[in-house]
Symmetry: C3
Subunit: 191 residues, 3 copies
């Protein structure tokens, strides 16, 4: 299992929780929870893979992402009444998932020897599109587009940090850790 | 003409009627009817084909699906005032189209030797995404996500039935008939 | 630089202005302007390229489209308060962008030796989907689907004009000029 699939899987897991909690707000049944959780979890990475022409997309190559998202959705289905303030939890977990997914997007584009600006753009796409699909499909106002919140800005800064670290000679986990940290700090600061 | 293209075409035809009726609710002109009908009719299969990397997507390979959807839209444009309760007709035809499209999705994935879980997921995708696009674009509450209705659940059960029948040794039309029947029964029972 | 990339770039530029103005209505920050501008600018061409299996999509092959859209977004961010009636400007610029994008879509499909009906369909897709994504993501009523306006009809007539001119022996710029003129005239006449 490569570093990239670990990152993809971590983003899938946290995004799946947010998707399942949005499904809870929409009063769906358990399969509806799974549907929204999977859409949120793999949405951003799917758009990234389609744009890059990766064939097949990451979650068709192995069952782990869909399986993780489905299990998460079922767990949330049976426990979501324990959460006092669903909206707060969604917003904070979405920030965590965004931070990890931006790093995953940058890493995939870097692994395919894409130029630096493509790595940044695909980092943003991977981070933002899962949550965007969740909100559009469930008729919520997209978090990406809420006035006064640094969402795309945080993703841009994080992707930029990863690229800058690598230019400065760091490699392996460091650029991705910088990306996740930078994205989360900015996003969390604006919540 | 293969069994798969017959199934795709049948789903296209019925989804096109639902798309055209939603266009009627939005008071569009005849080309608007054709646009929404085509989007609904080929939307699910297009997402399936993009995910699978099928090149080109099914409705670019031959003109039949788009032609059928366009003709259906024109017919509905001139006759939709005869329908007393548009919403009821949309919901029921959508259930028929869902049932056929799930079978088409499973059949395409099976034909490409995809594993069983991919067949189930792509059956659900093919069934649900056409109607989802129709509802999102036209600002209706997505049928997929209405509380208290078995939509994705019906698709999941149908796709599961197809796969189970094939494991039990049935082939040809039988697994697809089981899929369509199971999906429609569950969906219709929840309307 | 080919004729097709000039057309794509012109459509990108004008669509980016409309996207940035919609971002202004949603009170986003400057990176939010860039995000919506890029989504609107490359959305239609991206769907066209994915459907055609062009790999990579046009704006990953060279940085110009994304760079143009980003610069446009920043300029609009600092000047949009000078615009008296944002909605009017959006609608008229959207008509210009639609006209150019339909021609770009037809030209790309023609360059790939696609049949005539595919050229027409992909002209419509390229013209309509960028604005559609902008409106769906930003929770505006899609211009494509406003009752009483010729939107898809104008795109269809324009694409048809391009194909007809070419059948009559015209080539080079003429069919594309006919396409742009026809689309804009019909669309402008209905505003």
């Amino acid at each position: 299992m490569t570093l990239i699939s670990v990152l993809d899987l971590a983003a899938v897991l946290v995004f799946a929780v947010t998707g399942a909690l949005v499904a809870a707000r929409a009063l769906l049944d358990v399969v509806g929870f799974i549907f929204v959780a999977c859409l949120t979890a793999v949405g951003g990475g799917t758009v990234r893979d389609l744009l890059l022409g990766r064939d097949p997309v990451f979650w068709l190559a192995e069952p782990a992402p869909v399986a993780v998202a489905a299990v998460v959705a079922v767990v949330v289905f049976f426990t979501h009444h324990l959460v006092a303030s669903r909206h707060t939890v969604i917003v904070w977990l979405d920030a965590v998932a965004l931070s990890v997914a931006v790093a995953a997007g940058v890493a995939v584009a870097h692994g395919l020897q894409q130029p630096v600006w493509v790595q940044i753009v695909l980092g943003i796409v991977t981070g933002c599109f899962g949550g965007l699909m969740r909100d559009v499909v469930c008729n919520e106002v997209p978090l990406v587009l809420k006035a006064g919140e640094l969402y795309v800005t945080a993703a841009l800064a994080g992707a930029g940090a990863a690229v800058a670290m690598r230019e400065l000679g760091a490699d392996g986990l460091w650029p991705l850790a910088a990306c996740t940290g930078m994205t989360f700090l900015l996003r969390a600061g604006s919540i």
